[in-house]
């Protein structure tokens, strides 16, 4: 009987640790989404629209999940440094100058990136800002 109790408590503790780790990430995700949305509203909504719909051929929509996924390692660089090369979004060609946002700290870039990649029909999960910091150091 005693063995049984000890094993149950041990198993319960392990499960509790696993669940609380997941909860931490969910909490972080919610936090990033909330702050990211505020950043999006002040810096990005202007050109990319309230629902990420873009503006004609001047600013692309942010709804191309495939593009976002294929470029996930340079999204942070695009947000911080802008982009002016030709890109294909949702089958359409865009070539315009997106301005840089040097005033954004690494955490800001991470938060707005997580917001965008989890809104407008995208669902690409959480990326911690430590990872974004590394990406930003290696921007070309």
């Amino acid at each position: 009987m005693r063995k049984y109790i000890i094993h149950s408590i041990f198993l319960f503790t392990i499960i509790a640790i696993i669940i609380s780790c997941q909860n931490q990430e969910t909490i972080d995700l919610q936090n990033y989404l909330s702050n990211g949305k505020d950043i999006y509203k002040t810096k990005c909504q202007n050109c990319h629209g309230e629902n990420g719909e873009g503006l004609g051929k001047l600013a692309p929509p942010l709804t191309d999940s495939v593009f976002l996924k294929n470029n996930k390692n340079r999204l942070a660089c695009i947000i911080k440094n802008g982009i002016s090369e030709r890109i294909m979004i949702n089958g359409k060609e865009y070539q315009e100058k997106m301005p840089a946002f040097p005033e954004l700290a690494d955490i800001d870039v991470a938060q707005v990136m997580v917001y965008i990649t989890n809104s407008f029909g995208n669902n690409q999960g959480f990326v911690p800002y430590s990872k974004v910091s590394v990406q930003l150091k290696n921007c070309k």
């Binding site: 050109c47 051929k57 600013a59």
Partner: protein
Amino acid sequence: MNKIISSIAICMLSITILSSCKQDKKLPFYGERHAETVRDAAGVEKIDTVYQTIPNWSFLNQDSMVTTNKATDGKVYIADFFFTSCSTICPTMHRNLMTVYNDFKTNPDVMFVSHTIDFKYDKPSVLKKYAQKLGVDGSKWQFLYGSKDSVYTLAEKNYLVAVGEDSTAKDGYIHQGYLVLIDKNRRIRGAYDGTKEDQVEQLKKDIPVLLAEYKR
């Protein structure tokens, strides 16, 4: 019985009074005004108010054609000041203005005139690309290019919109995001902040009111 008749009478009287109070709405006049003595058709002298008008202008449009006020004379038009590399208020202004454009697309009496304040970079070919990328290309929405003096003076003195070069501003220029409504006689009838959706909605309501003024 008498009570019923009198209450019905009172109701009908109130309705008549209230409905007669409804006046035809007219948009206000902006800018300077002064009184002038004019002779009307019968030769009788009257004092009339003369309002500020937009003077003659001449610019190059997105097709590099000389475009003057002749394009807008006799029409109601909406004027604004922007530049293509603007990342602050212009995209929102034009996004909202697009919705107005779409609402009045089929009305030949309504036009749109956007003046660039970036005389260094926004040459007509750049304006053309911008117009095409925005999704408007045609004579209804004119994108005008002119010298710094001509555009800035027109903006500040005539359309009452502040514009200026500012090296400390994010994009190098500062300007107000007003959409200015001009009537068929070149008078300023409204100014709406193009970044505020409620004001743009008001503009959409005011355009038919202005057009109706000419139907009497």
